[in-house]
Amino acid sequence: MTFRAEVFVTLKAVVNDPAGLTIKGGLHALGFDSVSDVRAGKYLVVTLEGDDEAQARARVEEMTRQLLANAVIEDYRIELQPIAEPVAAVSPSPSGAGPVGGLLA
């Protein structure tokens, strides 16, 4: 089965986030005075194979622990969904593969 995992990586609450602070400053400059905090993070979409959802989730947990997030400074959240098998043959995507490793920073 094919699964699509969304991995949300954010800095731990105790870690200062200069990018988030700068974005907050930009929002204030635009007049969005109601904004009290902005935290910037990373969003990754990983497409992978697995026998079932539990196995796929375990794999994504493991790859996130090893590489996608740094436990010293970051927390993460994973959302996983099966991708429906195509009913009929689909035409190949125009440019072949997507981004290397499916990483979207």
Partner: protein
């Protein structure tokens, strides 16, 4: 002192390191490809600065899994001298050979300037030639050098004497103004508990000749030579 200088895709300070060690200090040096798995011929391994693997995901995160890093870890665990400079420091942290992490500079700016460093630990392999409290003038060149560790880790490395360098004023005072990137406690460089692995954000290899604006960086490499002589004695 046979020195290996590791080159990852995107490393940019490898030739500066080879020049400092090979030409200025006259020590044998060779480049180490990121796919190599044997470092038996070396006394010192340098992980130079740069943008390994484009710094994608996190600085050093991909380099940490390059084939050579298993050999670097074994080399360090056997007591071999390892110096991580800038991106090399980030890689050593990702590889968990050094504690903490390096965040984006508090200013969100890439900072390229000369800074002053106070030597906090003169017994590490890379500061043996320095006096405690000595001030070195060495340039930085980074966007992610903001040292972070959680409070227990921070206290532990302070207690163990693992803080090697702190950003300071020219007279050695550790001040907020002299901190170029927001590093906790002005930390610019740290060692592992054993003292054979050191990571530092400033670039000693770019401060080895007066022609380049200063030669204080030589102390870092000369210290390694003396550390090896001490082991051999």
């Amino acid at each position: 002192m046979k020195t290996g200088i590791v080159v990852f895709p995107g490393t940019w300070s490898d030739r500066d390191c080879a020049h400092a060690v090979g030409e200025v200090l006259g020590q044998p040096a060779r480049y180490v490809d990121h796919r190599e798995t044997r470092l038996d011929d070396l006394d010192l391994v340098i992980l130079p600065g740069g943008f390994s693997y484009g710094d994608y995901l996190r600085c050093g995160a991909i380099a940490r899994f390059a084939p050579v890093m298993e050999a670097v870890t074994d080399f360090a665990n056997r007591g071999g001298l390892v110096l991580g400079i800038c991106n090399g420091f980030q890689i050593l942290q990702e590889a968990r050979l050094l504690p903490g992490a390096l965040l984006r500079n508090a200013s969100c700016e890439f900072r390229c300037e000369w800074v002053h460093l106070r030597v906090e630990q003169s017994e590490s392999a890379f500061t043996l030639d320095c006096r405690p409290g000595q001030v070195l003038r060495i340039p930085i060149s980074h966007g992610e050098g903001n040292f972070f560790a959680d409070p227990p880790t921070l206290d532990a490395i302070e207690r163990n004497g693992q803080v090697v360098f702190r950003y300071c004023a020219p007279d050695g005072r550790v001040t907020a103004e002299s901190n170029p990137n927001g590093s906790l406690r002005n930390i610019a460089g740290i060692a592992n508990a054993r003292g054979n692995v050191v990571g530092m954000m400033p670039h000693p290899e770019r401060a080895c000749e007066d022609l380049l604006g200063g030669s204080d960086g030589l102390a870092v490499f000369r210290s390694a030579i003396h550390a090896l002589a001490r082991v051999a004695a």
